[in-house]
């Protein structure tokens, strides 16, 4: 597409884009970096305002199958047994702490559980489904930008090896998750409102919400390994070890 326009046009666009971005940064100085830790855990991720997940018939059938299989052991929860990444949004429910870093051009989230990383390039166009077809990842492919004080992250390009939550809510490779991160309560709490779309499994997008407390005293352990003793998470309501 770019080849069909004047070669200087992309540079003009880029310069304008960067000026706008720089101005936004200077004015708002948005910041969601820090060490964050939930105080409650549920194996179920459910719509923010109550109600049921809007499953398609295929989604409902897949959920019944996953729930039964996880219950009787015929389906292995590889994220727990072999420490592969939980995927998004399941990792958002993790009862372990995580840390957000903001560096030039990137926001990076490191989750202690399974030492999962999400590298989020900032202010790049969201890649097309075709471009992402070669990168079907557990954690998907994320693209971020700021809307005032809110970090908006679009994640797509997933494999089909993860569940939406620990109860086995299914997703297809057409899953797209749009997250809106912002600090609330004077910066002591991080809010992540995630909208989940998957036309194969859900009849419409649905939104869920997570909050995390700031824990500057915590030092993240990057050595999380299946079979090892892990951090004590007894302080997290609903998480039992």
């Amino acid at each position: 597409m770019i080849k069909s326009i004047h070669p200087i046009a992309p540079l003009i666009f880029a310069a304008a884009f960067i000026c706008a971005t720089s101005a936004a940064h200077a004015a708002a100085a948005p910041d969601v970096s820090g060490i964050w830790w939930t105080n409650s855990y549920s194996m179920q991720i459910r719509p923010q305002n109550g109600g049921a997940i809007p499953f398609t018939p295929a989604g409902a059938a897949a959920y019944r199958k996953n729930s039964a299989g996880l219950g009787d052991g015929s389906i292995v929860d590889t994220a727990r047994k072999f420490c592969v990444p939980d995927g998004v949004p399941r990792i958002l429910a993790s009862p372990y702490p995580f840390q957000i870093f903001q560096s030039p051009g990137f926001t990076t989230i490191f989750y202690e559980q399974n030492h999962v990383i999400r590298t989020i390039p900032m202010d790049r166009p969201v890649a097309s489904d075709e471009a992402l077809a070669a990168y079907p990842y557990f954690s998907g492919n994320s693209f971020g930008h700021w809307e005032n004080d809110t970090l908006v992250v679009v994640t797509k390009g997933f494999n089909e090896k993860t569940f939406v939550d620990a109860s086995g809510v299914p997703h297809s490779d057409r899953l797209q998750v749009t997250e809106r991160f912002r600090k609330i309560n004077g910066g002591k709490v991080l809010e992540d409102v995630a909208t989940i779309e998957d036309p194969v499994m859900f009849t419409r997008p649905w939104t869920t919400r997570f909050t995390y407390d700031l824990h500057p005293e915590v030092i993240l352990d990057t050595s999380f390994t299946c079979g090892d003793k892990h951090r004590d998470i007894s302080r997290v309501k609903g998480a039992s070890q």
Partner: protein, 285 residues
């Protein structure tokens, strides 16, 4: 491993300039941000000025396995820094290599690599640098080290795969001090063991690379009175990834870190007797 090419190359030059200026103004420190890589390690380089150095390769052979070809290394056990029990361990690894039953490395079995073995990872590494942290993110099995800048070690560091790392800048060099390492990793590709007494100082800086590009030089000194007769020094060098015409530009804006999940690719090792980390105790669901 090649840099990923997504369709937004028009932003490369201008965005790169922005990244550089932002880093300079925000950190006022040498900028290590960007993407770096090297190929499969054949052993660390010795310090050019001489002195005690790393274990070196005396014979590398390619070994065919069901899943492909693998390099098998035989270590020089005459390194004067090695204590007798370490020499014994290396001779066993050499015997295995000669017999065709090479020992799988912790890295291949999807365990964390430890320090300085972390620097033997092939594939891409991203460095994320902020005012308070330098983070090393390796694509291979998403292995991460977080360096806390201008902080102290906690009072009671419990041994772990990556220990506790603190750092500070000395001129153009990031100096990292790591303690609290467990004894479950080798220090290198030859299965050279270490103990929990290991203390590693790394000195990391950007140096000129080929074609006007940049390299990341990682120079480290290992001090472990439980395994070595004297501290020894090794060097690993990464080149910047990306940029036009092989410029080795680590902040080329089309770079992204691939996701490479070891437990999904365990067959690549080609050694039948290995096991990957598996949760056995009850854990939350």
């Amino acid at each position: 491993m090649m840099a990923r090419k997504l369709p937004f190359v028009a932003l490369i030059a201008a965005a790169t300039a922005l990244s550089m200026s932002s880093a300079d103004s925000e950190t006022a420190a040498p900028d290590l941000n960007g993407f770096w890589t090297h190929g499969f390690s054949l052993g660390f380089d010795p310090p050019p000025e001489g002195g005690a150095g790393p274990v070196k390769d005396i014979k590398t052979r390619a070994q065919m396995r069901a899943m492909g070809q693998f390099l098998v290394h035989e270590a020089d056990t005459n390194n004067p820094a090695l204590q007798p029990w370490v020499v014994d361990a290396l001779m066993k690894a050499n015997d295995a290599a000669r017999s065709g039953h090479r020992l799988p490395s912790q890295q291949e079995m999807c365990y964390p690599s430890g320090v300085p073995n972390y620097w033997t990872h092939p594939l891409m590494m991203q460095v994320v640098q902020t005012k308070d942290y330098v983070v090393f993110l390796h694509a291979r099995d998403h292995q991460v080290r977080i360096i806390r800048l201008n902080q102290q070690h906690p009072a009671n560091v419990q041994p772990s795969w990556y220990g506790d790392s603190i750092g500070h800048f000395e001129g153009d060099t990031l100096v990292v001090d790591t303690i609290g390492l467990n004894d479950r990793t080798p220090v290198d590709i030859f299965h050279t063991p270490h103990t929990t007494k290991e203390h590693v100082i790394e000195r990391i800086r950007v140096v000129p690379g080929a074609n006007g590009g940049k390299n990341l030089e990682v120079r480290f000194t290992v001090d472990d009175p439980g395994a070595f007769t004297m501290p020894w020094t090794g060097i690993e060098t990464y080149r910047g990834v990306g940029g036009a015409n092989g410029a080795h530009d680590p902040v080329a804006q089309d770079n992204l870190l691939d996701e490479e999940v070891c437990a999904e690719n365990d067959v690549a090792i080609g050694v039948p007797e290995f096991t990957i980390p598996t949760e056995t105790a009850s854990h939350f669901r």
